[in-house]
Symmetry: C2
Subunit: 135 residues, 2 copies
DNA sequence: ATATTAATGTTATATTATTACACAATGTTA
DNA sequence: TAACATTGTGTAATAATATAACATTAATAT
């Protein structure tokens, strides 16, 4: 039992769409996914959005909110999408999921002064990646 | 010189739209802003989006990415929109800007293991606010 | 004054996402 | 296994969010 979260058997549409996102080196947008899977019989936006919703829900993919795009989860410690952090290069748009135990501990334990109970967070860092930063 | 950021003189459209957002108890969406300001001579989406872009740029308002909505900045320490954190109640959709020196210090100084240089971050916490949390 | 930059007004269009409805597959559970 | 509930599918239509392109005007800088 090394997996952090329950295995879900993906349905056909979910599997097709997950595989596509998982293989993509960059975040994918819903309509670009749609165009890519039309040869596989997925014809309508809703079919894509439904699969995306489910995949996000079970933590197989994450939505990059500032980009309206989706990437596969490569971080077993981001317990079912409850605690996500990304770095985003504003030059080349490369997005990387951050897996820092320190960061996730800090944020998971963070309490605001209003005593609000948090069940989830999403953090997006912006900057320029190593490649795009002039020496 | 108590202000954290340079004063910008807002243009007419910018001022109208800022005032509206500033008075709103909840985040406002672009098209709801558009409907509200049509009596004041702002007729087209682009006029709203242009003002919003500028207001975000100078730090007078922030965009809540997960909601596609905008709130006025009430946090002098969020240096021109470079470092923003919000708490979002998933029940009543109340959004509050978090001003925690500890949090902003921690995140501003955070370095990932790829050595990426960050110039900005946005953090959104989700949960249920005091009002919406059953005792 | 004139060059430059920033903002405006307008039309059209692109992109992102959801509603509504009918039906099929799968999973309980009695 | 029959009945029921739940989840997923397919399709059409439409809503909601955001930008492109172009002409013009206002503000700022030299």
């Amino acid at each position: 039992m090394s997996k952090m979260h329950k295995e879900h058997t993906l349905t056909k549409n979910q599997q097709i769409i997950f595989d596509l996102i998982d293989k993509s080196p960059e975040p994918m947008k819903a309509y670009s996914i749609l165009f890519s899977v039309q040869k596989k019989g997925i014809n309508a936006p809703l079919q894509v959005y439904r699969a995306l919703d489910k995949l996000v829900e079970i933590g197989k993919i994450h939505k990059i909110e500032s980009r309206n795009a989706f990437i596969a989860c490569h971080n077993s410690s981001c317990q079912v999408a409850k605690a996500t952090a990304f770095s985003i290069c504003e030059i080349c748009e490369k997005v990387t999921e951050i897996s820092s135990t320190g960061l996730s501990k800090y944020l998971t334990n963070f309490k605001d002064k209003d005593g609000m109970k948090y069940s989830k967070y999403n953090l997006e860092f912006f900057g320029s990646c190593k490649k795009c930063t002039p020496k």
